[in-house]
C-alpha cells in the first residue's frame, strides 16, 4: 500500500527533525560548557522497511590531533610556570639591586660601617654598627636559604597532591572506559560519557604530557611521550611519600626525600625521564635541582665570608673562626646548609671593642687603633678566589661575588619568564583553535531554521496524504 508507506516515510522525517532539534538545543544549552564537544547527526536514507530517513549516529566532532597538541602545550605551560614562579622566589630571596633590603645592600652596609669605624675606632656606636651590619648579612643569608627550603617543601607537597589527583583521575578514566565500552556494544549514545572522559583527561593534562591512543569499542589507552603507560586496560598507580619539613641536607639521592614509583617500581624523575615535560616533572626539578643549586650558591657565599675574614686576627689561634663563623666554629668542611649555620662571632656579644682589639683580646686596647678594622675592610674588598665549587672560580671581591649571585638569579628568572610566556602563548593559541571548533550558536540557529522548514514540509506532506485518504473515504 504506497499511501501508507509514504506516510511512514513522512513520519520518519518528522521524527528525525525532532531528534535534530533536540541536538541543536543540547548544543546551544552547552555553548559555554568547557570540554563539551558539539554533536551532529549523521543521516541516511532507509534501506529496509520502505522509504524514509534514519538517524545513523550522533557524531562528536572532536579534532583529536588538536586536542592532543593542546594537552601537550598545557603540560608544557604548567611546567614553565612552576619553574618561573620558583626562580622569581629565588631572585626575590637574594633581592635585586634596586631595593635597600637586597643582599648587595647588606654587603654595602657592612663596607660602609667598616670604613666609618676605621675612621673613628674609639666609637662604640660605630663598632656596634659593624656588628649589626654583619648580623644583618648573616640573617639575610639565613632567611634566603629558609625561603629556598620552604620552596622545596612546597614543591614536595605539590608533588604529593598532583600524584593523588593523577591516581584518582586515572582510576575514573578506567571506569569511564569500561562504561563507554559497554554502552557502545549495546548501541547506546555514549557522547556524554565521552565528554566526561575528555574532561577527566584534561584535568590531569597539566600534570603530565599525555598521549591518547584509541582502543576497541571507544576505549582509550593513555601514555606519556616519555613512554610510561598510564592506562592500558587497568590504570597505573603512582606512589610518593611527602615530607612536610625539608632541610638543605635532605635529597632524593641520600634517601631523605621520596622518589616516584610507577606500579611499585621506582622511576627516574629528572630530564628525559618517563614523566618529563609537565607540572610534576617541574616540581621535581625545583625540589631536586633548581632549589639545591640556589642553596649551593648561598652556601658557597657563606663559606667565602667565613674564609675571607678568618686568619686576620693575631689574637686568635690560626684555625679559629674570624668575624663570621660556622655555628661559632671554623668552617666544618660540610658546605651544604652553611648559609643557615652562618653566625657572627659570639666573642663580639656585648664586647664590640673586640673588633678593634682582636677577637681573642681579654681587655680593650688603644682606643684609636684602626689596624684590625682596616684589615677587615681590606679583606672585604680584596679579590680572592672562592674555594667553593658552587661559585665562579675567578678572584672576586665580596661585593662582586654578591653581584654575580644576584645577576645569575635575575638572568635565570628572565629566561624562565620568556620560556613561560612562549609556552603560555602556544597553549592559548591552541586552546583558541579548539574553542573555534566548539558550539557556534549562529550555526545552530541556522540549522534550526532548516530543521523547522523540513518539519513543516513533512507535516504538509502528511496533511496532503490525509486529504487523499479522506477523498478515498468519501467515495
Amino acid at each position: 500500500m504506497s499511501l501508507s508507506s509514504a506516510m511512514n516515510a513522512t513520519l520518519s522525517g518528522l521524527t528525525v527533525s525532532a531528534r535534530m532539534a533536540e541536538l541543536v538545543s543540547s548544543n546551544v544549552a552547552n555553548a559555554m560548557t568547557p570540554g563539551y564537544v558539539r554533536r551532529t547527526a549523521e543521516l541516511a536514507a532507509r534501506e529496509t522497511g520502505g522509504q524514509g530517513v534514519r538517524l545513523v549516529a550522533i557524531l562528536r566532532t572532536a579534532d583529536m590531533h588538536l586536542l592532543s597538541e593542546r594537552r601537550m602545550a598545557q603540560a608544557g605551560e604548567a611546567g614553565a610556570a612552576a619553574r618561573a614562579a620558583f626562580l622569581a622566589v629565588a631572585e626575590h630571596a637574594v633581592g635585586t639591586a634596586d631595593t635597600s633590603s637586597s643582599l648587595s645592600a647588606r654587603v654595602n652596609a657592612l663596607d660602609s660601617a667598616l670604613l666609618a669605624a676605621a675612621g673613628r675606632p674609639d666609637s662604640d656606636v660605630r663598632l656596634g654598627a659593624v656588628v649589626d651590619a654583619a648580623a644583618a648579612l648573616t640573617n639575610h643569608l639565613g632567611a634566603a636559604s629558609a625561603t629556598i627550603q620552604t620552596a622545596r617543601a612546597t614543591a614536595d607537597s605539590r608533588i604529593a597532591s598532583q600524584v593523588g589527583r593523577l591516581n584518582d583521575a586515572l582510576a575514573q578514566i578506567a571506569d569511564l572506559n569500561t562504561r563507554i565500552q559497554i554502552g557502545s556494544i549495546a548501541g547506546q549514545d555514549t557522547s556524554a560519557l565521552l565528554d566526561l572522559r575528555q574532561q577527566q583527561i584534561d584535568s590531569v593534562a597539566e600534570i603530565l604530557p599525555i598521549r591518547e591512543v584509541a582502543r576497541a569499542d571507544g576505549a582509550v589507552a593513555l601514555f606519556t611521550p616519555g613512554g610510561a603507560s598510564l592506562l592500558e586496560g587497568s590504570p597505573s598507580v603512582f606512589g610518593f611519600t611527602p615530607h612536610p619539613v625539608v632541610t638543605a641536607d635532605m635529597t632524593q639521592e641520600n634517601g631523605a626525600l621520596s622518589g616516584l614509583t610507577l606500579n611499585g617500581r621506582a622511576i627516574a624523575t629528572g630530564p628525559g625521564s618517563f614523566i618529563d615535560g609537565g607540572g610534576l616533572a617541574a616540581q621535581f626539578a625545583i625540589r631536586d635541582e633548581s632549589a639545591p643549586a640556589a642553596q649551593a650558591s648561598l652556601d658557597g657565599l657563606a663559606r667565602d665570608l667565613i674564609e675571607r675574614f678568618s686568619g686576620l686576627d693575631d689574637s686568635l689561634p690560626p684555625d679559629a673562626p674570624g668575624l663570621f663563623t660556622d655555628a661559632q666554629a671554623g668552617f666544618s668542611g660540610e658546605e651544604t646548609g652553611l648559609a643557615t649555620r652562618l653566625a657572627v662571632n659570639a666573642a663580639l656579644d656585648g664586647a664590640t671593642w673586640r673588633l678593634r682589639d682582636g677577637l681573642g683580646a681579654p681587655s680593650p686596647g688603644p682606643a684609636g687603633d684602626a689596624t684590625r678594622l682596616n684589615a677587615l675592610h681590606a679583606a672585604m674588598t680584596a679579590a680572592l678566589p672562592a674555594s667553593s665549587p658552587a661559585l665562579p672560580s675567578g678572584a672576586r671581591s665580596l661585593a662582586t661575588r654578591v653581584s654575580d649571585l644576584t645577576s645569575d638569579a635575575a638572568a635565570a628568572r628572565l629566561s624562565a619568564d620568556s620560556a613561560q610566556s612562549f609556552a603560555a602563548a602556544r597553549a592559548s593559541a591552541l586552546q583558541e583553535q579548539e574553542l573555534a571548533g566548539g558550539v557556534d550558536t549562529d550555526q545552530e540557529m541556522q540549522s534550526l531554521l532548516t530543521i523547522e522548514n523540513t518539519w513543516s514540509a513533512n507535516a504538509r506532506v502528511l496533511q496532503v496524504l490525509d486529504d487523499l485518504l479522506a477523498r478515498l473515504m468519501e467515495i
Partner: protein, 334 residues
C-alpha cells in the same frame, strides 16, 4: 568545519585574553609613569646587574667617606690651631728670652721665666686637648690625654733637673730626658703608637701624624721648660746661671722653629688632601647618581605614550565586546 563556523567561546576567550594582556600592560606603564623608575630592573639590564651593583656600592661608600672626611677635617683643623698656638707663643718668647738674658736684669728674669712657665703649661694644655672625646696628640690612645697635667709634668722636669751642678749639666740632663728613649717617652708619655692611615677616597688614605712626641714639640717643650726652671733657681740662683739658662731656652725655642713649621706644613698638606678628596668624592657621587638614574629611570615620555596606547587599545576591546555580543542570529529570527 572551522571554515564555516567559529565557536562562541573562541571569541569570548580571545577578547578576555587580550583584555587581560592590555590591562597588565596598563598597570605596568602606569607604575613606571608614576614612580619614574623601571619596574623590572633585571629585564632592563638583561640580567646583568653588575654595573648597577657596582654603582650602588660606590655610592654607599662615598656617603660614608663624606662623613669620615669631614670628621678628619675637624680633627686636623683642631690640631693645626693647637700647633699654631704653641708656635706663636714660642716665636714670641724666643727673642724675649735672649734679650732678657743679655740685659741681665733680675726683675726681667723673673718676668720672662714666669712667661716661660705659663707658656709651658699652656703648651701641655694644648697637647692634651680632646675634641668630641677624642685626644688629638696621643696617637692610637685616643681615650685619654697623652701627657700628665701640665703642672705635674713641669714638676717631673724639675725633679730631673734637681741637683744639676751647672747649666751645661742641666741641659745635658734635659736633652737626655726629652731625647729618644728618655724619661719624656718612658715616664711622662701615656699615648700610643702612631695612628693608622684612614681611607679618605677610593684607594687613597691620609694619616694625622703629629703627636706630643713629634720632634718640634719635644724641643719646644724643652725650651719652655728651661725658661720655667730658671725661675725655680735651677741650677742655681746666680745671675750668670739664670742668664745662661734663659739664653739656652731662647736658643732652643728659636732652633726648634724649623721643626715646628715642618710639622704644621705636613699637617697642612694632609688637610689639603682631605679637602681635595672631599671635592672629588662629591663630584664622583654626582656622576654616579646620574649613571644610576640612566640605568634605573623609565623614560617618562615613553611610559606616557605606552599608557595612552594601552588606553586606546582597551577602549577598542570594550567597543568590540559590546558590538560582537549584539551580533547574534537569534536576535534577528522573528
Amino acid at each position: 568545519m572551522s571554515l564555516v563556523s567559529l565557536g562562541d567561546m573562541a571569541q569570548s576567550f580571545m577578547l578576555r585574553r587580550h583584555m587581560g594582556q592590555v590591562k597588565a600592560d596598563l598597570a605596568l606603564h602606569t607604575q613606571e609613569m608614576t614612580t619614574g623608575l623601571t619596574t623590572d630592573i633585571a629585564r632592563r639590564t638583561d640580567g646583568d646587574l653588575g654595573p648597577l651593583n657596582a654603582i650602588s656600592a660606590s655610592l654607599a661608600r662615598l656617603e660614608t667617606l663624606a662623613s669620615v672626611t669631614s670628621e678628619m677635617q675637624l680633627w686636623s683643623g683642631a690640631m693645626q690651631s693647637a700647633l699654631e698656638a704653641i708656635d706663636n707663643r714660642a716665636i714670641e718668647l724666643g727673642p724675649q728670652l735672649l734679650s732678657a738674658a743679655s740685659a741681665r736684669q733680675p726683675a726681667t728674669f723673673a718676668a720672662v721665666s714666669g712667661e716661660g712657665e705659663a707658656a709651658f703649661l699652656a703648651a701641655v694644655g694644648y697637647l692634651n686637648t680632646s675634641l668630641d672625646g677624642r685626644a688629638l696628640f696621643g696617637g692610637v690612645a685616643t681615650d685619654h690625654s697623652p701627657l700628665p697635667d701640665s703642672a705635674s709634668l713641669l714638676n717631673q722636669v724639675a725633679e730631673v733637673a734637681q741637683g744639676a751642678t751647672s747649666v751645661a749639666d742641666l741641659r745635658d740632663r734635659l736633652d737626655t730626658w726629652f731625647g729618644p728613649g728618655g724619661g719624656f717617652e718612658t715616664a711622662a708619655w701615656r699615648g700610643g703608637a702612631a695612628l693608622e692611615p684612614v681611607t679618605i677616597a677610593q684607594g687613597e688614605t691620609a694619616r694625622l701624624t703629629p703627636t706630643a712626641l713629634s720632634d718640634g714639640i719635644r724641643d719646644t717643650l724643652k725650651g719652655l721648660a728651661l725658661a720655667a726652671l730658671a725661675g725655680r733657681d735651677l741650677p742655681g740662683p746666680g745671675i750668670e746661671d739664670k742668664a745662661a739658662m734663659l739664653a739656652a731656652a731662647g736658643d732652643t725655642l728659636i732652633g726648634s722653629s724649623g721643626a715646628r713649621a715642618a710639622l704644621s706644613a705636613d699637617l697642612g698638606i694632609t688637610e689639603q688632601r682631605i679637602a681635595d678628596a672631599q671635592t672629588r668624592n662629591a663630584a664622583e657621587m654626582t656622576a654616579l647618581k646620574f649613571a644610576e638614574s640612566q640605568i634605573r629611570a623609565a623614560d617618562p615620555f615613553e611610559a606616557a605614550s605606552r599608557v595612552q596606547e594601552a588606553e586606546t587599545q582597551l577602549q577598542l576591546i570594550y567597543t568590540l565586546t559590546a558590538r560582537l555580543s549584539g551580533l547574534s542570529l537569534a536576535d534577528y529570527l522573528g
